[in-house]
């Protein structure tokens, strides 16, 4: 008796550039180069490691997947008889294949979409299906900045099984992040938040996910929002960085914040959305300004990743005392004792920000965090 349906997408070239030092696997050129350098794809083995954890559901689980290297092989290697849909050119799969596969699986109403890949794959899936169905990533790419991945394939398999068995029912929004690989190869890190995918959550398991989070975290965001809203005054302009924690604040104010952009609030209204540095500099002219930011994606970075619009110049003008850092306790704990950090691109500003900072973690609750640069 089939009780649950699992969608499976393996991005066969994910991670291929890693071990040969290419800092990523995006683009046909790089993939070719990687193969020439003797790279071995990582994702099929990792997908198998995850599926091994779900084997006990064999009789009740239908796996729906794409042919050959995009999932069928991994499923069969674990003894499943998958339902294979779609068609691909073996050895030459493209991001488009991932996108179409994801859309088809949404159409077939799978309960969970499990994919093996990296940040690029997560982006492809996000662009294809948004928050349509629950998704979980098996980490197999070179770049894993997104929070949609389990720490390792075993955790991914365990969490998927608990979700499919109904032992985990909660879902949370997790960041889809990626960095510009071209810039990364020049040693310039420029991370961007692309959006959110819905992933299953279980406290115990998510502890070991890259970004710890919980339904408790949702309540924490709500509490943080109440704390901030209580102190928002009409005399100040508020620059609000990206993130689910900051979005909870604007939601509490009844405003519709852009998901990944920097927005500006003044006297209870959203006066500008998705602004860039020069717009910010114009807006803050002659006003009292506060910046509200949250560390992104469990890395602990407050300035310089995903919110570069809030530039060193903007930070200088606003001043350290007018920066409000908000974070759920879960997110701070996920740093495992590592400090928060800044990398604005301006050493003087970085030094100004480093030391100890207060972080709002709930209603009337703050922690003192070390900030390094």
């Amino acid at each position: 008796m089939i009780e649950k349906r699992l969608g499976l997408i393996v991005n066969p070239i994910a991670g291929i550039g890693g071990r040969v030092g290419l800092k990523g696997s995006d683009g046909a050129e790089i993939q070719k180069k990687a193969l020439e350098l003797g790279a071995v794809p990582q994702s099929p083995t990792r997908a198998i490691q995850a599926l091994e954890r779900i084997k006990s559901m064999k009789g009740v689980l239908e796996i729906i997947t794409y042919p050959g290297e995009m999932g069928e092989d991994a499923a069969r290697a674990c003894g499943f008889e998958p339902t294979v849909i779609g068609s691909i050119k073996q050895g030459e799969t493209t991001p488009e294949d991932t996108r179409i596969a994801a859309q088809e699986m949404v159409g077939l109403k799978v309960d969970l979409l499990l994919f093996a890949g990296g940040d690029g794959t997560a982006r492809d899936i996000y662009s294809a299906i948004g928050e349509g169905i629950p998704v979980l990533g098996i980490p197999a790419g070179v770049k894993i900045h997104s929070a949609v991945f389990a720490t390792n394939p075993i955790s991914a398999g365990d969490l998927a099984m608990l979700y499919l068995r109904g032992r985990v029912s909660s879902l949370r929004e997790a960041e889809v992040m990626d960095i510009d690989e071209e810039a990364f190869r020049q040693d310039i890190v420029s991370a961007k938040l692309y959006g959110y995918l819905k992933i299953p959550f279980r406290r115990r398991l998510v502890q070991s996910l890259k970004v710890a989070s919980s339904p408790g975290e949702k309540a924490s965001s709500e509490a943080i929002a109440c704390d901030i809203v209580d102190r928002v005054g009409d005399e100040c302009l508020y620059i609000i960085g990206p993130g689910t924690t900051t979005r909870a604040i604007t939601s509490k104010l009844g405003l519709n914040k852009t998901l990944v952009g920097v927005d500006v609030v003044f006297q209870g209204k959203l006066v500008a959305t998705d602004v860039n540095e020069s717009q910010l500099l114009r807006l803050l002219e002659g006003r009292k300004v506060k910046i509200i930011v949250t560390p992104i994606g469990g890395q602990g970075c407050i300035f310089g990743r995903g919110n570069q619009q809030i530039s060193p110049e903007v930070i200088k003008r606003v001043g350290k005392d007018n920066i409000i850092v908000v974070s759920t306790p879960e997110k701070i704990n996920s740093l495992g004792g590592r400090p928060l950090w800044v990398d604005t691109g301006d050493r003087a500003v970085d030094r100004m920000l480093s030391g100890y900072m207060r972080v709002v973690t709930g209603y009337n609750e703050q922690v003192i965090c070390k900030v390094s640069c």
Binding site: G216, V367, I368
Partner: protein, 529 residues
């Protein structure tokens, strides 16, 4: 799979772990057992003669105070109620049943039964809190004398035994701190309480309930409270510091005096959370570290049964300067008589009903008197020795670590981490605990959210023998070995114990959690009230 489990049940004698199997009743909630019309006692009808004489007994009760509907209590017969609770008792791993060292921070020590017998004496149970003081001199003397004992143990000058819990004591301390600042005209300005992330979580929770903003400090690289972070935190808004020492990691803060002086210099007061003083009795005192306030949990350190096992007292101690703010009543002795003094204009007021929880004080008094001063110190010494013996045994288990302060000894407990084992096997700390239940022992991870990854908190107290500590360590070593050889067995545990695993998510979600039957009907079953 089931064959493997059956085989594991006997444990094959390797290691020599006991064969344990718990009762499993799948007992419903008492409200679900209710059937309309079932009764435990049929109250006899009033005889006509009496009815005629008395008339309608409810007539004197104002209409507005009468219920329109009878209360929705469960309807059951006496034997049904009896069976229900006996079954529930068989489905728990209580402290009288297991080697209860796995409930770290809770000090699950043995509470001598003779003290329970004292508390159950008619002289105690038949006391009425509204009796004239003249007629309750005995219990007032016990409470007065116990206050003198606590003064000696802490070095502070005056105590209140009013608060009915550790959290109530912390709330009391926070209220006293506010009253102090009020008396100096600074209450509006000083609205921040500082604590540490490894302090007892009630410090943050109760001070917040008392209306303060909470600033928590994370530990430094060595796991000690970060003094530099404290310096960054204090200001003219600092009302006080509420801190536990040793912290939940079992580490004693060696800079505690500096912590106190930094806060004093900023104009704040310092309260020492000694809910669990089991490792420091007779060794360190709040006074010598410069604290202004402290509290003890009589139901932890002082051996009275704890938590759901019995009622509680959080005894609050203060310096002479703060004594005027203590809750009412305090117990005074004029040389011949004891009396309850309510005439204290600067008091924060009433914090518990009547005298507080008198039987708990009686048990604690009996416990201290049976040990004497040297005995109290010996309690601490054995508790610390036991803990460090178990620390060594635990660290011999591959995959276990004791984060922070590597190589340092701990005081009365340790927060361990199974992170190494989890990375190797995919088995998590909670699952190890569920499997440990198959061998008849209780196990606890940590407060949430976890700061130590894959945590496990063990506190042996002075009550357990070396053999018992060896048995506990052997059980965890065995489970860790199973995690390597047969992770599925551990991940599907418990097998010999009562309860299957449950989804914890509703516990974290206000829209789903249900503390009462009525809340359950409304939130979970979506039934109208």
């Amino acid at each position: 799979m089931s064959q493997v489990i059956t085989r594991q049940r006997s444990t094959d004698g390797k290691p020599k772990l006991r064969r344990f199997h718990q009762a499993r009743w799948d007992e419903p909630i008492i409200f679900e057992l209710s059937r309309e019309g079932q009764r435990g006692i049929l109250v006899p009808q009033v005889e006509d003669e009496i009815r005629n004489e008395v008339g309608d007994v409810l007539a004197t009760l104002p209409e507005t105070m009468r219920r329109k509907q009878p209360p929705k209590l469960p309807e059951l017969s006496q034997p049904q109620v009896l069976r229900h609770y006996v079954r529930l008792s068989q489905e728990t791993l209580g402290t009288d049943l297991n080697i209860d060292v796995g409930q770290g921070t809770c000090t699950m020590k043995y509470s001598p039964k003779v003290n329970d017998q004292l508390a159950r004496m008619l002289e105690m149970t038949e006391l009425h809190p509204l009796q004239d003081e003249e007629t309750v001199q005995g219990i007032l003397e016990v409470m007065y004398r116990f206050e003198q004992i606590l003064k000696e143990i802490s070095g502070l000058d005056r105590f209140s035994l009013q608060p009915g819990a550790g959290s109530a004591a912390i709330y009391t301390n926070a209220s006293i701190i506010r009253a102090y600042h009020e008396s100096r005209g600074e209450a509006g300005q000083r609205d921040e309480i500082i604590t540490t992330i490894f302090s007892h979580p009630s410090n943050a929770a109760c001070a917040k309930t008392a209306g303060f903003k909470i600033i928590a400090l994370y530990p430094d690289e060595d796991g000690y409270p970060d003094l530099e972070a404290l310096k960054a935190a204090v200001s003219e808004r600092t009302a006080g510091l509420l801190i536990t020492n040793p912290e939940d990691t079992g580490l004693f803060n060696p800079k505690i005096e500096e912590f106190v002086s930094v806060v004093h210099e900023a104009g704040g007061l310092c309260a020492y959370d000694q809910a669990n003083a089991n490792g420091i009795l007779g060794i360190t005192r709040a006074r010598e570290a410069g604290f202004d306030l402290c509290h003890f949990n009589l139901h932890k350190t002082f051996s009275s049964p704890h938590g759901c096992g019995g009622p509680a007292v959080g005894a609050v101690g203060v310096t002479q300067e703060l004594a005027r703010f203590l809750p009412v009543p305090v117990i005074e002795f004029d040389g011949s008589k004891y009396h309850l003094n309510y005439d204290r204009p600067e008091s924060i007021g009433k914090i518990g009903p009547f005298y507080g929880v008198a039987p708990v004080v009686l048990r604690a008094y009996a416990w201290v008197m049976s040990l004497g001063a040297e005995g109290l110190r010996e309690v601490a010494e054995i508790a610390v020795l036991n803990n460090n013996y178990l620390l060594k045994k635990m660290l011999e288990i591959p995959g276990v670590s004791a984060p922070y302060a590597k190589g340092k000894r701990r005081i009365e407990q340790v927060r361990y981490s199974w992170e190494g084992l989890t990375k190797e096997t995919g088995v998590h700390s909670e699952e190890i605990g569920l499997r440990a239940a198959d061998f008849g022992v209780h196990y606890w991870t940590s407060h949430h959210p976890f700061i130590v990854p894959e945590p496990c908190t063990v506190e042996p107290t002075e009550s357990y023998s070396k053999d018992e500590l060896d048995e506990y360590a052997a059980i965890l070593a065995h489970v860790a070995e199973e995690a390597r050889t047969n992770p599925e067995l551990v991940k599907t545990a418990p097998h010999n114990s009562t309860i299957h695993t449950i989804d914890h998510t509703p516990l974290d979600d206000p829209s789903q959690w249900a503390m009462t039957w009525r809340a359950y009907l409304r939130k979970v079953r979506k039934e109208a009230r």
